[in-house]
Symmetry: C2
Subunit: 354 residues, 2 copies
């Protein structure tokens, strides 16, 4: 493999010294970029874009052509696993993801297909290989998966949901059915992320988008414990280098101590948490990733720079911080504001490193 | 005024001994009740229901006819103040609240009408008087208002919003304009709640539904500081008895210490916070209200009772807990499950009190 030219991102995740704070953006390959919209139009629908490794590579690299990002992230969807389990993922315009089949009973869970990565999810693994080759050592490549709980919500609801009524009903009244589903998902996520690591992913992130909709007790039992199981099952070294794992639970700020104890190298923060307090709470155990409000990208360039300065100041001196947004970049953002953000992180962070 | 027959709710808010834990439900007068839907149909639209004191009284009392609730809450909308400021509130079916005018500039804020309660919001004050009379001392009556930040989001966005883009843009780029708006709102909320107290409200709650969408820093500056100002301006005694104030910030679990320091008697918790940990953090300063996941009301009666038992056990022995849901009851809940919930709180909590 080609030597890595910029390893700030990997070093910061392991709390090793860096020259400046690394930065990437969740959903950096996305609809706010006109070139992404063109690739998507070329592909037809969203899943055709995900399932074509060359197109997935094309959109993964687009933000890197524009901005001085310190990491690339595999372009894919979080619902590839439920799709591979036989639920029939599709997207209705303006409706978000939908499944042809839903999972509501023990029999539904028992009859799920347990995916074999090389047969059912080879398109993702192939995309990782192609992207890694095309990156040519420029920056590290992040692989990712949804968390079991987050995937389960979509599978039980049949798509997006406001209050996760059906998923919670299963969790409340048939916890053993929910646990079986989560266990099947965790097993698959381990295989899936290890296959991404084998294909060249140099770090992996688990997105727990909906863990924050749970009570404290249910979060520990139905979301965090399965992420912990996944972390324990991952290959942590590849190509002679540690493969860091990042756990990101949106609205998980109350639970940072237990998230930090789950075995990952880094914890993602949404924008509601003060990163200085988070560092006091868990910064001696893990690196932190985050956490500017994505809505700040609608502000003026001056205001964006000011916010970057504030967050850098709150984190303080030394390594262990990967700058990011607190959630994905939204479609209506002006790409020039994303540039202001990224450049500000590099420019303003030098003084916090020696 | 008639003597209060059941004062558990007021006693628990002041951490005074009670026989059993009192309980009420946010949005207890609402669409899950067929009799509410009938009253609403009779009124025509939603605002006509709010603006008619007799109908507002009718729906306020409906859940008390069915269930052994320990408090009534004024039936009204949180957006009465922006409406009185001249924005023209209306409801589009399936769309939620909308305003004819939006507030986007300093000139917009400066030209807002500063409501005079007895002229512009007399229908709310009259509803409080009628309800209080009709309650006839059965249980205490709660008055309420939205928080300045929560009201401001609707006024700037022109209605509901997913990411509060316009409101945050104003906050980020023209903070002095946002502060002027929040200050005008806080002044009005003080008058509004004091008028409710004068008319017979025996406790008041401030609903900060959207404070949890802010960063830690912005929450302190743009939401909590204005709630603190309101609390400082409220009449805290009426009819020879203390009028307790409850602050409820949804998704505010990270900030309990600062919320508890704002001067209120009680802090509302959504269901993501463990009430036992919350009591350790702030229970020596304030009472706690909450916090069962409202989605639990879709579970079986047995499971609902089990959850009530768990939450009571987490809070532990002694007063200072008003049981509630962690957010409003949703329209599709079976009223019989609400009954199971309310009865379980009374039945299962006796052993925690002497």
């Amino acid at each position: 493999m080609t030597e890595l030219k910029n390893d700030r991102f990997l070093r910061a995740l392991l709390r090793e010294p860096v020259d400046v704070t690394p930065v990437w953006m969740m959903r950096q390959a996305g609809r706010y970029l006109p070139e992404y919209r063109a690739s998507r139009a070329k592909a037809g629908d969203f899943m055709s874009l995900c399932k074509n490794p060359d197109l997935a590579c094309e959109v993964t690299l687009q933000p890197l052509e524009r901005f001085e990002l310190d990491a690339a992230i595999l372009f894919s969807d979080i619902l590839t696993i439920p799709d591979a389990m036989g639920l029939g993922l599709y997207f209705e315009t303006g409706e978000g993801p939908r499944f042809k089949k839903v999972v509501r009973t023990l029999a539904d869970v028992e009859s799920l297909h347990q995916p074999v990565i090389k047969d059912d999810l080879d398109y993702v693994v192939n995309a990782v290989s192609v992207i890694r080759r095309e990156l040519n050592g420029r920056v590290p490549l992040i692989g990712f998966s949804g968390s079991p709980w987050t995937l389960a919500t979509y599978m039980v609801e049949g798509g997006s949901s406001k209050d996760f009524r059906e998923a919670k009903k299963m969790m409340f009244c048939e916890p053993q059915t929910m646990h079986l589903l989560l266990d099947k998902l965790a097993t698959c996520v381990i295989d899936y992320l290890n296959a991404q690591i084998d294909a060249g992913a140099q770090a992996v992130q688990i997105f727990d988008t909906w863990g924050g909709a749970l009570s404290d007790r249910d979060y520990q039992e139905f979301s965090l414990s399965y992420m912990q199981k996944i972390v324990a099952g991952l290959k942590r070294e590849s190509e002679g280098r540690r493969v860091p794992v990042i756990l990101f639970t949106k609205n998980g700020g109350q639970w940072l101590e237990s998230i930090a104890a789950a075995g990952a190298d880094a914890v993602g923060l949404d924008w509601t948490t003060d990163i200085g307090l988070a560092r006091q709470r868990i910064g001696s155990k893990v690196a932190l990733q985050g956490n500017m409000d994505p809505t700040m990208l609608y502000a003026t360039p001056e205001r964006i720079r000011q916010e970057v300065e504030t967050i850098l100041g709150r984190y303080g001196k030394g390594s262990g911080h990967v700058f990011n947004l607190g959630h994905g970049i939204t479609p209506e953002v002006d790409p020039e504001n994303a540039r202001v953000f990224i450049d500000a992180v590099h420019e303003l962070s030098a003084k916090y490193h020696n």
